[in-house]
Symmetry: C2
Subunit: 408 residues, 2 copies
């Protein structure tokens, strides 16, 4: 089975594009087919891009995306092509599969143009070379450039070479800031406040909590994990014994209560803010939150989520967020909601966009959404920062980042 627990957001997203007859699926199967237990081509609905999580050595855990043909016809076909293009926003590595008996056409040139525009590293795969004459193969081989591979998915020719080339395109870790390691020293105690309500997933911790614990461990420091309901007793006891935390990190939703329980001299922040900085988005989102003060009745606000089936986000997004915003602003804006992969290309009609933490989206997609908003001059912020703002503790939660406090 090899069910892999790596979340989608941490996987390298490899997308395969091409015309319907280019042999995309065969190439995917040939590349991934080294382990039959994991590989299972996902078919069935050809309307939507198809996602498979797998381990692709030497890349590690990846998300392979099979997209609808870029030459599909009719009204539905046009919709499918559009969906293929949307996949670009989350693509870390693009593979363009071309039928070598047909050659490169307009659709392929259009795609290559888009790869360049979005700065996506890509490979061009000439498939079906088994169908070419020896002479034609020679001609093609002579003209092959870096970033192009001749393969035959049906007889496995050059598939190993293709895999190595894909692996060589693996994106670098581009984090400008660490998650938490620069804020603590070895043996420092960090208290992590993790509320357990009915929305919390059964028997596990959500990813940001895991990542934070992991980052603290790697620094040689200590995580004390506690519910919000036990925080005060715990702090009282520890402080009375002379054990003082260096930092308290809380779930955003418990921020207001936690802020009261933590003495002013102890630095307090939230998982949201740590991750926002880690991803390089904090500055943008702090600027974005300013828009809240100028919201008027009837302004349109987009509340966007990265996942479709994460009940916790759903409840916050569709219920709590609108309520918090109405209470804080005293106005009645109009809320619209998107979830999963739907995110409008045109956000210009919104007064502001409020996005979830995006833990289920890969970074490329999240950055794309932020760029969409910035390009169109629409303020964007995230759930955690909005909650901190409406509960009046945004300034305090930026305690570890004095330079950011100046932005609000």
């Amino acid at each position: 089975m090899g069910m892999n627990q790596t979340p989608a957001s941490e996987r390298v997203h490899i997308s395969f594009f091409g015309k319907r007859n280019a042999g995309k699926s065969s190439v995917i199967n040939a590349v991934t087919g080294q382990d039959l237990a994991i590989v299972s081509s996902v078919m069935g609905t050809t309307t939507d891009p198809v996602y498979k999580t797998m381990e692709l050595l030497p890349l590690g855990p990846v998300m392979v995306i099979d997209t609808p043909g870029i030459d599909d016809e009719g009204e539905l076909g046009a919709l499918r092509i559009r969906k293929s293009y949307q996949v670009l926003n989350k693509t870390d590595i693009a593979i363009l599969v071309i039928d070598s008996t047909a050659g490169k056409g307009e659709e392929e040139l259009e795609l290559i143009h888009r790869f360049h525009k979005k700065g996506i590293p890509y490979l061009i795969v000439y498939n079906k070379i088994d169908l070419l004459s020896t002479e034609k193969i020679k001609d093609l081989a002579m003209s092959v450039r870096a970033g192009e591979v001749l393969v035959s998915a049906s007889d496995g020719m050059n598939i190993q070479e293709l895999k190595e080339k894909i692996a060589s395109l693996k994106p670098e870790d581009t984090h400008k800031y660490p998650l938490i390691q620069d804020l603590i020293d070895p043996l420092d105690l960090v208290i992590l406040v993790v509320p357990i309500d009915k929305a919390a997933p059964k028997g596990r911790l959500i990813l940001p909590q895991q990542q934070t614990i992991r980052d603290i461990l790697e620094r040689g420091a200590l995580s004390l994990v506690v519910r919000d309901t036990e925080l005060k007793s715990t702090l009282d006891h520890f402080l009375a014994q002379g054990v003082c935390p260096k930092l308290v990190v809380t779930d955003s939703q418990a921020f207001a209560r936690v802020s009261k329980a933590v003495p002013e001299n102890i630095t307090l922040t939230s998982f949201s803010i740590l991750f926002s900085r880690y991803k390089g988005e904090l500055e943008t989102q702090l600027k974005g939150i300013a828009a809240l003060s100028s919201i008027e009745d009837g302004d349109r606000i987009l509340i966007a989520e990265g996942c479709t089936h994460h009940r916790q986000c759903g409840d916050i997004g569709t219920c709590k967020m609108p309520e918090w915003i109405r209470n804080y602003t005293g106005k009645k804006p109009v809320f619209e909601f998107t979830s999963g992969t739907e995110f409008p290309d045109d956000v210009s009609s919104y007064k502001m966009v409020i996005h979830c933490g995006g833990c289920m989206l890969n970074e490329r997609e999240m950055k794309y959404r932020i760029a969409c908003c910035q390009d169109q001059g629409v303020p964007i912020t995230n759930y955690g920062i909005l909650i901190a703002q409406v509960t009046g503790i945004l300034k305090r939660s930026l305690g570890p980042f004095p330079e950011m406090q100046k932005l609000i």
Copy 2:
């Protein structure tokens, strides 16, 4: 996308069985097709059972298993049928799809017999009723019993009813013992020792660690998460300040070092032992470890893993385990290895079986494997208990369970 992080072991496993022409895939698509973004029938290889993780309300996270036709022909066909039968070992809910135009045959009766034998709750789905005459439908409807549903996957008839019936078969939580909650009181401090080596998954915690933290939180107690390398300094500091842990839980691999760092008056155990008890396997595995003392040169030992792509298990299983056993026994047994879904029905030729913690297998499958060994009189134990034994700290690690200490 709605990529769901719930691990396979925590999902209800729903398996669909039937003849090749019964419309199994159509029924699966109809049942799961409420959300196109998640649903994607997994085809491609028909040789192996096909697994899909998804959210199926009101059941929650499930694993849907599509099995090869039970009437497949030829040598390959027989192999496929055998694989379908093997799926029974991990099936929590079985769905038998029957072509209502053909009716119930020998193969179906054989399957139903096996459902009964293995105590698997099941439903019989008569598909393709749209192809029957009104009269025949009436006849069939008159004779339908509880546990039988008439559907038409192609026009969606009764699919909602089928979904509700599936949900009603959801297995109860059958844990005899809690994970850790009965060992601690609210506000107790539990130290969790989590080594970070190159085998640890990047940016996250493995499932047993998450589950333990979660269980401690639910008890209103505190988890202090620390690496093995910082454990001694941390304990020294905390004890000097008068803060004493109620319990220390360590990764099995760090047990020997951790045991030295933790004063004798503090109770110490391992994640392995906690989970072994939680799953009701501890007694069997403690009896199993006794076989180690009678291993002779040439004895066959099976080392079995539940996952195929979890490097950490792989290294332990194929490298460290054999070395530890050779060193401890001073003998040269012959090691054999299995991983993933391969686990031999016949284990009688082995002197003992050593299984990984099975965090990637669902409980039904793990219980089946243990039952296989017990039925054939072959001792079975797990990685954690073996490590504790060879490092000489098994007795201490059973500290929280005095009644179990008597078994060794």
